[in-house]
């Protein structure tokens, strides 16, 4: 019979490395999946997973509901993604400025791909991007997404609708 999350968290708090490893093996794939969808590529998924579990190990003592460790891990991962996306936006801004100086390499009428979608997502605020991806790409329920984004259901719905509108606009530019 598998050990429940609350027991594992209690053991991990007492520096039981095997318990921490079990938590990792139970949820790393899920965290990686969420990170992958939010980032849109594989490049920094390992970093997000690693940083999430390092932060989790450091913060285990402060976890109020040990049974809700899965939700807590996703919240940490989303915060990490927020930071990464902010850094990416700066990099992308520089890249765009640089590309303006060189001739276009691709046909602007080419078919829309996931890359284009993520390009549009990169140009909207992260607080809109994350709920949109969680619900539209990750097929997460509105309630669950609101919970892990630490906002109310009404706020999340508003953000998803705003993201819809902005993505549509960016894709048609």
């Amino acid at each position: 019979m598998p050990i429940d999350d609350a027991t594992l968290v209690e053991r991990a708090r007492a520096d039981d490395e095997a318990a921490f490893t079990t938590i990792y093996l139970r949820y790393a794939r899920y965290v990686a999946g969420v990170a992958y969808q939010l980032l849109g590529d594989d490049g920094e998924v390992d970093d997000v997973v690693q940083e999430t579990f390092v932060a989790a190990r450091e913060g285990l003592a402060e976890l109020e509901e040990p049974a809700a460790v899965k939700r807590w891990l996703v919240v940490i991962a989303i915060r990490r993604v927020h930071r990464l996306v902010a850094r990416r936006k700066v990099r992308r801004w520089f890249a765009r400025k640089m590309s303006e100086l060189s001739p276009r390499a691709s046909d602007p009428r080419e078919a829309r791909s996931l890359e284009e979608l993520y390009d549009a997502l990169d140009r909207i605020p992260t607080k809109l991007r994350v709920p949109w991806i969680l619900t539209r790409v990750g097929a997460m329920s509105i309630e669950h997404a609101a919970d892990v984004c630490e906002v109310s259901v009404a706020t999340l719905k508003r953000r998803v609708a705003a993201a819809d509108e902005r993505i549509e606009r960016k894709l048609s530019e």
């Binding site: 921490f20 093996l25 790393a28 999946g33 594989d42 690693q50 390092v54 829309r112 996931l114 979608l117």
Partner: protein, 93 residues
């Protein structure tokens, strides 16, 4: 152009056992580094506190001596107690 259906299969991360293991190993190593750094920081803080205390104790003891000899009595005018004991009431009690 509008947002069409999203290819869910393209949005699945390739998370195999080897990758899982490799990230776990690096995570545990990083946790260990963080813990070691934290322990070192605690020792530095504790050591600094002990040093500060060791430096401050003789002065505090001297002050306690000064005050203890004449508890409740006013200092004689024009004579100020010093940490070295000269000029104060140290040794008179």
């Amino acid at each position: 152009m509008s947002i069409g259906p999203i290819d869910q299969s393209a949005m699945q991360v390739r998370w195999d056992a080897a990758r899982e293991r490799s990230v776990l190993v690096s995570t545990l190593a990083r946790c260990e580094r963080v813990a070691r750094r934290r322990r070192a920081a605690r020792w530095i803080v504790a050591g600094t506190a002990v040093l500060v205390l060791l430096r401050a104790l003789p002065r505090l003891a001297a002050r306690a001596d000064d005050a203890g000899g004449f508890a409740g009595a006013a200092e004689p005018s024009g004579v100020r107690p010093t940490s070295s004991g000269h000029g104060g009431n140290a040794g008179k009690g």
